[in-house]
Symmetry: C2
Subunit: 232 residues, 2 copies
Amino acid sequence: MPALRLYDLAGADPDRRFSPFCWRTKLALAHKELAVETLPWRFTDKDEIAFSGQGRVPVLVDGDTTVIDSWAIAVHLETHYPDRPSLFGGDVGMSVTRFLNAWTDKVLHPALAPLVISDIHAHVAPQDREYFRTTREKVFGKPLEEVSAGRDEAVLSFRQTLEPLRAVLQLQPYLAGTHPAYADYIVFGAFQWARCISPFKLLADDDAVAAWRLRLLNSFDGLAASTPGYPV
Amino acid sequence: MPALRLYDLAGADPDRRFSPFCWRTKLALAHKELAVETLPWRFTDKDEIAFSGQGRVPVLVDGDTTVIDSWAIAVHLETHYPDRPSLFGGDVGMSVTRFLNAWTDKVLHPALAPLVISDIHAHVAPQDREYFRTTREKVFGKPLEEVSAGRDEAVLSFRQTLEPLRAVLQLQPYLAGTHPAYADYIVFGAFQWARCISPFKLLADDDAVAAWRLRLLNSFDGLAASTPGYPV
């Protein structure tokens, strides 16, 4: 089997790996029981991944094949390693999981980002700081510190956004049922993103979402829990 | 095979069947290629379904078995008719579809209901009108006509709510992939609810969600399109 290599977003501390999209991929690789070499990468290291034809991570190199975009990587792993544990449980499972992917990208991340954006800035590598601030302040239209300033109140509406997630996790231990699968890794990636760079408390202790997050932190021998980050 | 009977919410016109939850069930039955006798039922016909131990539809009577709650009915059909086309595509598919169920109940319905609530009232059976108005005005805290009054503006944020749905349907024809399954029927039930009782235009013509809705209206020989309602 060819060696797998993953370009993985890192902070000032090269072991602080905080990309939610890279976490989807790392948990998918663990689920498939595939060893991977992760290479720390910074926002401004565009040249290092120019071979992939674009400038964002995750980038997976699997032998002679380069795959970009976390969803395409998950589909690649499912297709190329069909004898390993399934990430989707079949075609319908894959298609329906895509809704979770879209909900996470279009609802969960935009609700979460303002709560932690100034904390991300504090952890990115020195050479990335100006790039990060400039691109993100353009999106938010104000200084990052102002974006996060109202978070003690904004976290309440963030928790409201999680209502469909909570409703499911009150009925079953994982989004994929009795065991986690890619649907879980997509959503968990958002919480792991936050945990890696922010001490801000996102969830109430008695939230079913918090219990699920803890189960995933401890899965795969604590793959997510053992990385540099803050207690949840 | 025992005859299947479904208690199905009807309006003043007994053929106007507008419950989004009953539509989930009717499409699931069609998907399973199961014939069903639908019995028109009104909100105030509590006695008629008292045998089910509660007062809401859908109620499915399958031989000696009574099943309440649209999700439980779908699981019952999947389990008891395993040789018919699958509603979920396996255990992971079923579990992940549950998120669609929760999103529809907790996000889509609350975004849609205010747009059409006064139109529902205009179509419920005369004996249901006071019950419907009283219970719903208690929820909204104001007259139904006031709830729907701002809908020309509110529909824009409703369309924004559909963003994750739209993102998926720009990539694949159905939520379940190349063919529809229960994930589609859950979400479609909301649009069919609206179509049955309201002329209000919910979607722009060039919306991928509108194209998907049309495909489902025409599925199963036009099961949903041929019921009394308004053009979309």
